[in-house]
């Protein structure tokens, strides 16, 4: 265990020192270390690369995919210098993130002729749905939109209050029927409220639920259907909120939530921690759903538009020393 002691302690010191920067430089910082002292890419380097990607939550399948692509390139171009490895990796990861063929958002607020534009927010327990909704509403408001938040989490203790406090903070409208009411009815009536009060955007919160709970997933489908009933074609966006600290289970979550509600976008939260964010690469690869927003802190302003290039570029930051 001696070796691991050292390994982890070192890791942790870096975590505490660098904070957010660590998240971004992590993968490629480690790669730099892995290839230092080697002038060509050999099996050992690729092995080390595999370890690094996996321990950044990229996931086994995606890691193998990346490695295979690099191996192909090595076979094709023969002696690749390790200094070129970063460029190749950048290429491969940008490509993986681009495979869902969607452009990154240019602004927070949706460009749409739908009025109101209805967003249904779903996810497992504790990923930060309500907080993300609050921050999103703030951005929409700043963009001059009239927003209503629908308190569809009628199950978790005090969830309605929590969303209500956010609505107050943001200064937007709030629709609630209280705790232990039918969430499908709340969703329906929130859309109705938005129509009657000229809201541009309605964001509907839902209770966190594990994707393995069949009944609760069926409830989500019902919520979605009841929105569609009030406004055919709505919800226009079904946003799955994922916690960046989650491991490979995030992919399972995306699968099951998509089955229940046809998830159209992702928000990745808690990227300000030590979690590596590798899960984003895995999901974009295995799931053709775009990541729209990332959460980087608890503050009201700490929500950013996800940008593939910037994300990958920032991953590479710090590896230039190679």
């Amino acid at each position: 265990m001696g070796f691991f002691d050292k390994f982890f302690t070192k890791e942790k010191e870096e975590d505490l020192d660098k904070g957010l920067e660590k998240t971004k430089t992590n993968i490629f910082g480690k790669i730099s270390r892995a290839v230092a002292g080697k002038s060509t890419v050999d099996i050992e380097v690729l092995d080390e690369l595999e370890h690094i990607l996996i321990s950044s939550d990229v996931g086994l399948d995606t890691t193998i995919k990346i490695i295979e692509r690099i191996e192909e390139r090595i076979a094709r171009d023969k002696y690749i210098n390790t200094k070129e490895l970063n460029d190749i990796l950048r290429d491969e990861i940008v490509q993986l993130l681009s495979e869902n063929n969607t452009a990154d958002l240019e602004q927070f607020a949706p460009v749409t002729d739908k009025n109101p534009y209805v967003i249904l927010v779903v996810g497992v327990n504790g990923v930060g749905k309500t907080t993300t909704i609050g921050k999103l509403a703030h951005q929409f408001k700043k963009a001059g939109k009239k927003v209503v938040l629908g308190a569809g989490d009628t199950f978790r203790a005090a969830a309605v209050d929590q969303l209500g406090i956010w609505a107050e903070r943001v200064g937007c409208d709030f629709y609630s029927k209280g705790m232990n009411t039918d969430p499908a009815a709340v969703a329906y009536e929130t859309v109705q409220y938005a129509m009657n009060n000229d809201c541009d955007i309605a964001i509907i919160d839902t209770a966190g639920r594990l994707h393995t709970k069949l009944n609760l997933m069926k409830e989500l489908t019902k919520i979605k259907n009841s929105i569609d009933k009030k406004m055919p074609g709505a919800p226009h966006d079904v946003m799955l909120v994922l916690d960046a600290t989650t491991g490979q289970n995030a992919i399972e979550q995306a699968t099951k939530f998509t089955l229940a509600t046809e998830v159209k976008s992702l928000a990745l939260t808690k990227l300000d921690g030590t979690a590596k964010g590798g899960v984003a690469i895995g999901i974009s690869d295995q799931f053709k759903i775009p990541i729209k927003y990332i959460g980087v802190g608890e503050g009201i302003e700490q929500l950013q538009i996800f940008n593939k290039r910037a994300f990958v570029d920032s991953l590479f930051k710090g590896s230039d020393t190679l």
């Binding site: 691991f4 209050d161 709970k213 600290t245 491991g247 289970n249 399972e252 808690k270 979690a275 590596k276």
Partner: protein, 444 residues
């Protein structure tokens, strides 16, 4: 898309079936599968490697010792033993001695601290006959205090809060003084979620701990956490030197990869497993059972214990008599259904039965599975429920109308009930099992 750890392990061992003995080659093969399974289940990469290296040595070293055992079984045993050891050997209890006993709950945002605090309060109240006081020290997240208050109400215990006070150290200290004056023998302190790299917040939790000197400090971990679990567990351990770990959201389909990582890295025992939305879904953590569950060997002990919690011995004896006399009726059946329902989520219950986990993975089982059966029985008259033989065609037609199912469904249910009754009677007469097997084979 991703198989559960359990499935992968099963397939790894399937490779070994039919092989006469453990060899370098077949061990290496299954070791690779096991390692992939562990990594796929979010066990830290380095830990998975070290763990499987150890398994490999064990497996190859023992091939001459146990010639009679099948290699697949031997491999399962080795993995099982190692994993149990890694996860902490014997079960460890919670220390709530003192006047009052003080439990401090800490963890990342969204790991489930507040819900766990509520569950722990109920657990201590019901299983340890304590009078807990829940303390709301999350002064940051909107409505966190309300959330704890609502949970306290549901548990039926007291809550201590100071909505105007933004100093959690003070609140915690005041709460302890309050507990002493109001005969609360345990204080559970819920704190705000915090990131391990947030120095200000980590200093705060350090101050809370030194300000109240808890008898038990618990670190709450979301069982779905990925590779980062190791970093967070270490960072929190450095700052608050916790006594134990709580695993939450274990009712999902991640099989506790984070549990392995955390236990291995910090060496602190995992004390509780939280497995559901209902407040009574908190289990003491048993390393061996967890290992069994991960390895697809089921968790029959938990299953039996859950059953024992609900079933009353007197009642069981009465039932046995009835079965022996072939007097088992629809009332008894309904009662059984209700008891099973009380035990909790049907699917997780079935998953505890050895071998069932994989079989039911993709099958829809929900708690409404019984509703059809119930509606049929509820449409019977009390007399019919007590005397199943009364049911004739005209009665069945009436029942069909009453419950809204068609007559075929009624017939099918009645037939199933009769078969079940027959089997139960046979089994209770001892020689049953054998004859039942014969019957089943004939039926095929």
């Amino acid at each position: 898309m991703f198989d559960s750890l359990q499935d992968r392990m099963e397939s790894a061992f399937k490779n070994l079936k039919g092989e006469a003995k453990l060899t370098e080659i077949n061990v290496a093969q299954s070791i690779k599968e096991i390692r992939r399974a562990l990594v796929g289940a979010d066990v830290n990469y380095k830990i998975a490697k070290e763990f499987t290296d150890k398994i490999k040595d064990e497996a190859l070293g023992s091939k001459n010792v146990l010639k009679s055992v099948k290699p697949g079984e031997l491999m399962v045993k080795i993995v099982m033993d190692e994993m149990t050891e890694l996860m902490g050997g014997q079960a460890t209890g919670i220390n709530i001695k003192g006047n009052p006993g003080i439990v401090l709950v800490a963890g990342l945002q969204g790991s489930g601290k507040t819900t766990f605090s509520g569950k722990l309060a109920l657990f201590l109240k019901e299983k340890k006959s304590k009078n807990p006081l829940l303390v709301a020290c999350d002064v940051y997240r909107p409505a966190a205090i309300d959330q704890l208050t609502v949970l306290a109400e549901q548990v039926g215990c007291a809550v201590y809060k100071e909505p105007e006070n933004k100093n959690p150290v003070e609140i915690a200290q005041n709460a302890i003084a309050y507990a002493k004056g109001h005969s609360h023998d345990v204080v559970i302190i819920d704190t705000a979620g915090r990131l391990a790299i947030d120095e200000k917040m980590m200093t705060e939790i350090r101050n809370i701990k030194s300000g109240i000197e808890p008898t038990e400090t618990l670190f709450v971990v979301d069982s779905m956490t990925g590779q980062d679990a190791v970093n967070t567990a270490l960072a929190f351990n450095d700052v608050i030197d916790y006594d134990g770990v709580v695993l939450t959201k274990l009712d999902g389909d991640t099989r506790g990869g984070a549990a392995l990582s955390v236990k291995y890295t910090v060496g602190k025992p995992i004390k509780f497993a939280s497995t559901g939305e209902k407040l009574n879904t908190l289990d003491v953590f048993y390393p061996e059972r967890m290992a069994q569950r991960i390895l697809g060997m089921g968790d029959i002990v938990s299953f039996v214990e859950k059953a024992q919690d609900q079933f009353d011995e007197e009642e069981a004896k009465r039932l046995e008599k009835k079965i022996k006399r072939n007097k088992f009726d629809y009332n008894d059946f309904l009662q059984q259904v209700n008891q099973i329902k009380k035990m909790g989520d049907l699917k997780s219950l079935m998953g505890m039965i050895p071998g069932m986990g994989k079989a039911i993975k993709d099958i829809d089982i929900n708690d409404g599975a019984f509703s059809k059966v119930e509606s049929i029985i509820f449409s019977m008259t009390p007399e019919e429920r007590g005397k199943p033989d009364l049911l004739n065609m005209s009665r069945k037609r009436r029942i069909a109308k009453g419950c809204g199912h068609n007559i075929h469904e009624i017939n099918m249910f009645v037939k199933q009930f009769e078969q079940m009754r027959k089997m139960m009677t046979q089994m209770s007469k001892g020689k049953g099992m054998e004859r039942m097997m014969q019957q089943m084979q004939q039926r095929r």
